[in-house]
Amino acid sequence: MSSVVSRGTRAPSLRLAIIFTTLVIAVAMSSLWGLSVGAFPLSFQVVINSLLDLDGPQQTYMVMVSRLPRLVLALLCGAALAISGVIIQGIVRNPLASPKIIGINSGAAFAVCLLLALLPQVALVHMPLIAALGGALAAFLVLVGAQFRGVSPLRLALVGVAVGMLFDSGVDFYLVANHSPEQAAPMVWLTGSLWARSWEHVDAVWALLCVLIIVGYGLTHQLDLIGLGDDMATSLGQRVALTRLLLLGIATLLASISVGVVGVLGFVGLMAPHMAAQLVGGRARVQLPCAALLGMLLVILADAVGRAIAPPIEVSAGVLTALFGAPFFVLLMLKNRGDLQQ
C-alpha cells in the first residue's frame, strides 16, 4: 500500500516542485518589472540599487515610496482574492463561483455611496475601512440569509446575486440622483486600481491578511472534506455547518479587506483558483498556495501593465484583470465543457 502511494506521488511531487518554482520565479520577475515601469521608467539596475541601497544611481522615491507599497499590496490582495476564491468555489462546489457571488463588491460600493450621501464632509481617509465593512456586511447578510434556509450551493449563489443586485441598484440610484458623477469622484477608489496606495495602507492590512491566509491554509483539509459532499463530510466526523461558516467567514474577510484597500479586481478570485486546479489538481492543500501565487502574478501584471500602457494615464488594474479573464473564460468554455456541469 505504502509503495503504491509513494510511487503514485513521486512523479507528481517533482511536477509540483517544478510548477511552484516556476511560479515563484515568475512572481519575482514580474515584481521586478512592476517596480521598473510607470510614468517614469527605471532600469532594473536602478531598481535594484534603490531596493538594496547599493552604490550607484538610485531613485528612492519612485521605488521605495511609490511602487514598492503598491507591489506589496498587489501581492497581498492577489493572494487574498485567490484564496477567497478557492474557498468559495470549494463550498459552492462549482468552478464558476467567485467572491463576487456573496455580494462583497456591491456591498463595498454601496457603503461608500451611503457615506458620501449621508456625510459628505467626512474624511475620506476612512473610505477603505467603510468599503471593507460594507463588503463584509453584505456578505454577512447573504450568509445569514442562505443559512436561514439551509445552505445549498444554489441558495447561497442566488441570495448572493440577489443581495448584490439590490446594492448595485442602490449605487445606481445614488449616481443618477446626483446627476454629477464628479461628486462620486471617490468612487474611483473602488474601480480596482492601486492609484495613490501607500505604506499607510500596507500597514493597515498586512498583519490581518497574513493571519487570515495562514488560517485559511490551515483549514484546507476541512475544505477538501466539504468538497466530498455534506453526507460524506459528516460521516468523516466533520461538523459541516460550523466549518462551512468558518471558511466562508475567512473568505469574506479576505475579499472584503482586499476590496476596501484596492477596490474591485474582478476575475482574480475566479481565474486563479481555476488555473491552479488545472495545474496542480483540486486538492486544496496544493491548490490554495498555487492559486495564491497565480493571484499575485495576475494583480502585479495588471497593475504594471496599467501603469506602462499610456502614461501619465493609469488604466485601472480591475479593467486589465477583466481583460485577462475574458479570453481565459472563453477558452474554459470551449475546452472544459464537462467541468462546469459537475
Binding site: G38, A39, R67, L124, Q183, S193, P312, I313
Partner: protein
C-alpha cells in the same frame, strides 16, 4: 463654514506676514485638510485642477506641472499666454500620475478636496500639499481660494491687487447688468450634450456667479418654491418649459445636442428664451470646466456680449 475657514486662514497668513516683517521664511497655510508648512515663494508648483492654474496665471506664475486630462486643448490660449507652454501634463484631474508629479520635484502641490482627498498623504509625501474645494465650491469661494493660493506662493499683495482689479471689473459688469434692458427676464446657464441638458443650479459655480451679478436665475429657489439639491440639474424638455428661462446661455459639449434635436418641437419653441430668440451659445469649456479670476473674466466678456444682444432685441 468654508468661508469662515478661508477668512481665518487669510487672517492667519496676514498676521504671520506682519509679525515676521517680511523675513523670508516658510509659512503655515490653512486649508481644507489641515495646516501645511509651505516654503517661502515656492518655485516648482504642481496644480491638479483648472481653477488653480487660473489662480497662478492671475498673478503671472507658471506651474511646472498640471492636469490637462490628457487633452492639451483644455489649457486654453488665455492661460498659455501667461504661463507659457513649459509645463508637464501629469495626467487626468481624477487620477493624476503621482510619479509624474514626483519626477517634477515640486515644492508645492495644490489639490482638490473632492477629487484628491484620498491621495492627500501620498501627495504630502512628495511635497507640501494644500487642498482646496474647487470642484464643489462657488464663485465667492473661488476668489477666496485664489487669495489662499496667492498667500501660499508668497504673492499675497499681487493677488490682493489682482482680486481688487477683478472686483472692479465685476462691479462694472454688475452695473451693466443693472442698467441693461432685461424686461424681467430670468437668466439660466447650462451645458448641452448629445444625451442631455444640464442646468447649473444657484449654488453651482456658474449659478452663484450669475446671481452675484444680480441676474435673476431661472432655477433660483424663489419663484416656483422648489429647491434643487444637485449643482447640475438634468433637465428634460418638459422641465425646461416649466422653468421657462427668459435668456438661455448654453455651452456645447458635443456637435449634435439635445437642444438641436428639440428645435422643431412646439414645446421648445414655446420656451420664452427660444420664442424670443434669446438663446446664446457660449464656451462650455470656459464657463463650466474653468473657474477663477481669469476664467470668470472670459465669462464676463461673453455675458456682456449676450446682454448687448438681449438689449438690442428687446429694444426693437
Amino acid at each position: 463654514m468654508g468661508n469662515r475657514r478661508f477668512l481665518s486662514s487669510l487672517a492667519a497668513a496676514g498676521f504671520a506676514l506682519l509679525s515676521l516683517g517680511g523675513i523670508a521664511q516658510a509659512r503655515d497655510v490653512q486649508h481644507e485638510l489641515g495646516t501645511t508648512n509651505v516654503p517661502d515663494e515656492p518655485k516648482r508648483i504642481v496644480v491638479l485642477e483648472f481653477s488653480f492654474i487660473d489662480s497662478l496665471a492671475a498673478v503671472g506664475v507658471a506651474p511646472v506641472g498640471l492636469t490637462d486630462d490628457n487633452k492639451p486643448e483644455r489649457i486654453t490660449e488665455q492661460y498659455r499666454a501667461i504661463i507659457g507652454n513649459d509645463f508637464v501634463s501629469v495626467g487626468t484631474r481624477k487620477s493624476p500620475s503621482l510619479e509624474m508629479i514626483a519626477s517634477l520635484q515640486p515644492d508645492l502641490i495644490i489639490a482638490d478636496k473632492t477629487r484628491h482627498s484620498s491621495a492627500y498623504k501620498s501627495l504630502s509625501a512628495i511635497a507640501p500639499t494644500i487642498v482646496l474645494d474647487s470642484l464643489t465650491g462657488d464663485y465667492h469661494s473661488a476668489l477666496e481660494q485664489a487669495q489662499v493660493i496667492g498667500d501660499a506662493i508668497g504673492k499675497s499683495e499681487e493677488m490682493k491687487a489682482r482680486v481688487a482689479a477683478h472686483t472692479a471689473r465685476f462691479e462694472s459688469v454688475k452695473a451693466n447688468v443693472a442698467n441693461a434692458k432685461k424686461e424681467g427676464r430670468t437668466f439660466q446657464f447650462g451645458v448641452v450634450s448629445s444625451r442631455g441638458l444640464y442646468l447649473h443650479a444657484p449654488h453651482s459655480y456658474n449659478g452663484s456667479l450669475l446671481m452675484a451679478l444680480g441676474l435673476p436665475l431661472s432655477l433660483s429657489a424663489e419663484g416656483a418654491g422648489v429647491s434643487y439639491e444637485s449643482a447640475y440639474v438634468k433637465t428634460s424638455l418638459e422641465q425646461l418649459s416649466e422653468i421657462n428661462p427668459g435668456v438661455l446661455l448654453l455651452g456645447r459639449y458635443s456637435e449634435n445636442t439635445v437642444t438641436d434635436q428639440w428645435k422643431d418641437e412646439p414645446l421648445y419653441k414655446a420656451v420664452t428664451a427660444v420664442k424670443e430668440e434669446q438663446v446664446y451659445y457660449v464656451s462650455g469649456h470656459n464657463w463650466a470646466r474653468l473657474r477663477g479670476i481669469v476664467a470668470s473674466e472670459l465669462t464676463f466678456d461673453e455675458l456682456e456680449a449676450a446682454l448687448a444682444k438681449v438689449a438690442e432685441k428687446t429694444g426693437k
